[in-house]
């Protein structure tokens, strides 16, 4: 599965400044592994020591938060758009 990944500023030093990259994977877990093969070190920034997505990182598949889907097991299909976004505050 070839998908498009939007890369936030703090991760662009891994992608040579690119704000969007192509990657492969049947699900989000495989996608993160694939990103790390092409951009070594990036996985450690997205996932904690136990392999889970870090608390302050949100991952979206076509605009939907993967925590509402199947987290790392969320299936991907050709042409999906993935966004990696730091959490931000607001409200009241």
């Amino acid at each position: 599965m070839k998908v498009q990944v939007r890369v936030p500023t703090p991760l662009r030093k891994f992608t040579n400044g690119a704000d969007e990259v192509n990657a492969q994977g049947n699900n989000v877990r495989a996608l993160v592994e694939d990103l790390d093969r092409n951009f070594p070190g990036i996985k450690e920034r997205i996932c904690d020591e136990t392999g889970k997505i870090r608390r302050f990182v949100n991952v979206y598949v076509n605009g939907d938060d993967i925590r509402f889907l199947q987290n790392l097991e969320t299936a991907l299909k050709e042409g999906d758009n993935i966004s990696i976004v730091p959490a931000i505050a607001g409200g009241v």
């Binding site: 939007r6 936030p8 500023t9 703090p10 030093k13 704000d19 920034r45 870090r54 608390r55 302050f56 990182v57 949100n58 979206y60 605009g63 938060d65 925590r67 509402f68 966004s83 976004v85 730091p86 959490a87 931000i88 505050a89 607001g90 409200g91 009241v92």
Partner: protein
């Protein structure tokens, strides 16, 4: 003169210079302002604060600006009101309302955070300011940007109350309404903030912005006679104000402005959007995001960025939290209006209703000092209560018409008549 030494990641401790940065490059944790408290302790005193104008900048040593304040010179220092009648209704002895519904100039606690953010945006040399908002923040950013002469874009979810939409538009920003809820707005804005070089008050200026929320706590302590209340109840949405109240109280102790004292902090959420209350009750650190479904639009954030720190601050203080239904929120808005003459929005109704519930449950004792934070104003959200209040009686301009109406209004209802007969 600044007492800020830099920024530091709250998660991994990595240090950063004073720049418009908000997330740690290593772990994505939020960045926090680092102050030199030893120097502040020597520079600040009760007398010095009392000699200054009654606005939020009277605590400027504990705020992250380098030069003179550039915005919000009339913001903050809202009333702390002894609420005898609401206290009696809730059955508590010493109740206060911190009334940010009359904050200058846009009637919510957001005037505090935005005063600091706009001052900082000017210091950094930005010419355009922006925000992701549930309404109140957009109002505050638009107003303060107008006063400062900055260009302004505000992003809101669709379906907001008219008062909040027009309450931004009047100041002349570009308002962009996103098809979706606040969490969708938030996600888009973090991508926009990445791409356009603007000062997004709650994205790249967040560490500075959030510090403004401390002034709500500083003022409470000062207004109580340099003392902390024993209990405080405040609404939680994205999680900015609650941890900053905890920080405010700690800082006042640390720099010697209040004696030791402990304040228990309680989070208030609407049942239709209560991810933090769910986590508090489950005893977990993990916040499962929810899809909001409540009339309390200003706190309808299902994926709270700083939720983890809300849990931490509540637990560390020995406080708690509760959620209330939309019906309880509407009842509480009316209760506050009819006992204290204050008209708040659903977030404020949530704060009052949750206090009532926690007192009834025995979680907040009836004989200790309690502060309820009233974070926003009901005149912005008229439509949520419109159907629940009495309609005007329409009569002709004749005394006879009024006499008839008055008789009708003062006649005992059939139930009352029956009761007096019995």
């Amino acid at each position: 003169m600044s007492f800020v030494t830099g920024l530091e990641c709250r998660e991994c401790g990595q240090e950063y210079p004073k720049e418009p940065l908000h997330v740690c490059e290593t772990c994505f944790g939020p960045l926090e302002i680092v102050y030199d408290y030893d120097r502040i302790r020597k520079a600040i005193s009760r007398e010095k604060i009392l000699s200054r104008a009654k606005n939020l900048w009277r605590y400027r040593e504990l705020l992250p600006i380098d030069g003179e304040p550039q915005a919000g010179l009339y913001s903050g220092f809202t009333p702390l009101i002894r609420a005898h009648r609401l206290g009696a209704a809730l059955g508590v002895k010493e109740l206060y309302l911190k009334d940010d519904s009359v904050n200058h100039p846009t009637f919510s606690y957001k005037d505090r955070v935005v005063s600091v953010a706009i001052s900082k945006a000017i210091e950094f040399g930005f010419d355009t300011v922006s925000c992701a908002s549930t309404g109140n923040l957009a109002n505050a950013v638009a107003a303060h940007a107008a006063k400062a002469g900055l260009a302004c874009y505000v992003f809101i979810p669709d379906g907001l109350e008219q008062g909040k939409i027009i309450g931004s538009a009047i100041y002349g920003p570009r308002t962009i309404s996103i098809k979706g809820n606040y969490d969708d707005v938030n996600r888009l804005c973090s991508e926009i903030a990445d791409k356009y070089g603007w000062a997004f008050v709650n994205v790249n200026l967040r560490p500075y912005y959030a510090e403004g929320a401390k002034t709500h706590g500083f003022e409470i302590a000062e207004q109580l006679g340099w003392k902390l209340p024993r209990h405080i109840v405040v609404a939680s949405a994205g999680g900015t104000i609650l941890p900053k109240l905890a920080k405010a109280f700690k800082e006042f102790k640390r720099v010697g402005l209040v004696e030791d004292g402990e304040c228990k902090i309680y989070a208030a959420q609407a049942t239709g959007c209560a991810p933090m209350i769910q986590a508090l009750k489950k005893g977990t650190d993990l916040i499962s995001p929810v899809k909001p479904n409540t009339i309390a639009s200003s706190i309808a954030i299902g994926n709270p960025a700083d939720g983890y720190y809300v849990l931490q601050a509540v637990r560390e203080s020995g406080g708690g939290g509760e959620s209330v239904t939309d019906e309880e929120i509407l009842d509480a808005i009316k209760l506050l209006a009819r006992t204290e003459g204050i008209f708040t929005e659903p977030a404020g109704g949530t704060e009052v209703a949750v206090t009532k519930k926690l007192v009834q449950q025995g979680k907040i004792p009836r004989d200790e000092s309690i502060v309820i934070s009233i974070t926003g104003n009901g005149y912005k959200t008229l439509e949520v209560v419109a159907e629940t209040v009495e309609k005007p009686f329409s009569i002709h301009a004749s005394l006879k018409s009024f006499d008839e109406l008055y008789l009708q209004l003062t006649q005992p209802s059939p139930e009352e008549a029956l009761a007096s007969e019995g």
